[in-house]
Amino acid sequence: MDYFIELFFSGLTRGSIYALIALGYTMVYGIIGLINFAHGEIYMIGAFTAFIVATVLSIYGFPLLAIVVIAGVAAAVWSSAYGVTIERLAYRPLRQAPRLAPLISAIGMSIFLQNYVLLAQTSDFIRFPELIPEFAFMEPVAHIVGSSDMVILVTTAIVMIGLTCLIKYTKIGKAMRATAQDKTMAVLVGINVDRVISATFVIGSALAAIGGMLIASHIGQINFYIGFIAGIKAFTAAVLGGIGSIPGAVLGSMILGLTESFATGYVSSDYEDVFAFSLLVLILIFKPSGLLGKAEIQKV
């Protein structure tokens, strides 16, 4: 039973990591129907920004809490700037183009950003400082769930609830829903669609950056390529849960994380990806729009 609980928490941690990235995918898709393949790179840039800021601040001897807050804010702001810029440069000019064009543009952006960080920073793995301390009260259960796992779990939960509230109860949330339902109609009733889309990218990118910081601190290393692998898994999770749906992204991520963890624990880690993707195929066969996705008529 202990072993089951250990695997369960390891799966939850994995799932939360995927969820923090998957939320950004799903938001952008929900609003403009675009799979933003550069999202994983935004996450990676967030991790790099947090790394640089945290390193500089720790040289000046800031307390850990201040470092986490400032690095987190800096990463969120910087990544949002990237997100909005990417949208302006690569997606907005293609908004009226056939669906394939922005998709290719997104893949191009992803490749560009990876190589840009590779050239601007380094191709080596870099040690990421431990921004989440080992809490003393976690010590009795540290062998099952560590402090950083806990922080990631809690953050994911807060973010999911916060996002749901934002979309349900705020003005910008209402504008987002309107844009998602019908862009032309939204313009007609006086919604600034461009601004709504930019806001979506800001929120998605900021989340990815916060995720990048927490996850890099959990793993302890970063390089220019981390966004790609994490992005693919997060995208899978978003599709699993029903792309476009925020609770769906979290649910899909948790299912994916738990499947991988139990597959590793009870079968073999050689096959963790096999189980994860077989599950995806099965769910898509029986529920093509994903677990919580709306089975709507092809809109775009």
Binding site: I17, G220, I229, G265
Partner: protein, 376 residues
């Protein structure tokens, strides 16, 4: 007409071989003949030419102090282009020319093809670079020696260390699913099982780049292993090691020279402390290695190439064995190689019964205070 030509050719060939045989026979008593065989042209020449230069330097050094037991050393250099089919001709040529010992060949395939010819002729062969396991371990070639560690030496070093030094009874073997990591892990697993002193409780690959390794770490804990052998590179190793520390596991982590890299310590930080990793012997502080490289620079005006130190050591070992044996008799040379230790650029070496150099190969390092230090 045709038969007449053949006959003429035959006569010419016979007389030619006599013409060549006479001086060889005449000089046999005067010099020690050291054959050097390997790739000296073609695309693998860069592996073979440093060996020729090493032999030239060693021979010049011996001849400068009067040769061996009063006899000068003579070099016979032959090219095999690293091709097995050419290597048999190379070997035949060297044997016909009356070599006493051969330094070479360079490539494992060529060496394997040439060895039966030398064996039949009673010639001792020593390669600076052929790493194929069965050249020595098969026991087929009692006349073959080498100054480089065989391919499985690293796995052997890791397994011996885990069982012999750490005293592990249950070992979890983990790899990164790559050619290098999985290959190494598979050999290590075979060795542990064949040895019978410990059992493999877990043999699994992890996915490189995955965001979290806590599940596999929990599985290692559940397998009750008292040591982890990891085949792979440092990014995965540092993630697994960090996760093991986070999950409060204290068992030994033993890895390979893909991890014996300072980047590992840099990335894993204080989590790297206590990790074992095997790596090649470090010769950079060996005075003989420094002297050999300096001699090469002086003679050829450039830094030596691949396998230079191994070749230099092999030439020294061969000539030393002839000197100690006092003859060029095969049995006497083999006995001297196995019993007489010699100081070389790769360390103080002698050879085991199978022909592998003792003292060459992989040693275990441990991270102590942020540095890799050799574990005695």
């Amino acid at each position: 007409m045709q038969s007449g030509l053949t006959k003429k050719l035959l006569v010419a060939a016979v007389s030619l071989s006599f013409a060549m045989a006479i001086p060889v026979a005449g000089m046999a008593g005067d010099t020690i003949k050291l054959g050097v065989a390997g790739a000296q042209s073609g695309d693998l020449a860069s592996y073979g030419l440093p060996t020729v230069k090493a032999a030239e330097l060693v021979v010049a050094q011996y001849n400068a102090k009067g040769g061996i037991n009063g006899k000068k050393v003579e070099l016979l250099i032959e090219d095999d282009v690293c091709k097995p089919e050419v290597a048999t001709n190379t070997a035949t040529k060297l044997v016909t020319d009356g070599v006493h010992v051969v330094l070479g060949h360079i490539c494992s395939g060529a060496t394997k093809a040439a060895l039966p010819i030398y064996k039949e002729a009673g010639v001792v062969v020593m390669s600076p670079s052929a790493t194929a396991v069965d050249l020595t371990k098969s026991g087929d070639y009692s006349n073959f020696f080498r100054t480089i560690a065989p391919d499985d030496a690293q796995a052997e070093a890791m397994v011996n260390f885990a069982i012999g030094k750490i005293g592990a009874k249950k070992i979890a073997v983990i790899h990164d699913k790559g050619d290098y990591g999985k290959g190494l892990a598979t050999i290590a697993k075979g060795m542990i099982e064949a040895g019978g002193k410990a059992e493999v409780t877990l043999f699994e690959g992890v996915t490189p780049g995955a965001v979290d390794y806590s599940a596999i770490v929990q599985k290692i804990r559940r397998s009750n292993a008292d040591a982890v052998l990891f085949g792979g590179y440092h990014p995965e190793a540092s993630k697994i090691v960090s996760m093991m520390k986070k999950k409060r596991m204290k068992i030994a982590f033993i890895s390979d020279d893909g991890v014996k890299d300072d980047t590992f310590i840099k990335v894993a930080g204080d989590k790297a402390e206590g990790v074992y990793a095997s790596g090649p012997n470090d010769n950079s502080t060996n005075p003989l290695a420094i002297a050999a490289i300096a001699a090469h620079k002086k003679a050829y005006g450039e830094d030596p190439g691949a396998f230079f130190e191994n070749a230099y050591s092999a030439a020294l070992a061969l000539l030393n064995a002839i000197e100690k044996a006092g003859s060029t008799d095969q049995a006497a040379i083999i006995k001297a190689l196995q019993t007489e230790s010699v100081d070389t650029p790769v360390g103080n070496i002698h050879f085991d019964a199978q022909g592998d150099a003792v003292g060459v190969g992989f040693v275990m390092y441990q991270v102590q205070n942020g540095k890799y230090v050799v574990v005695k």
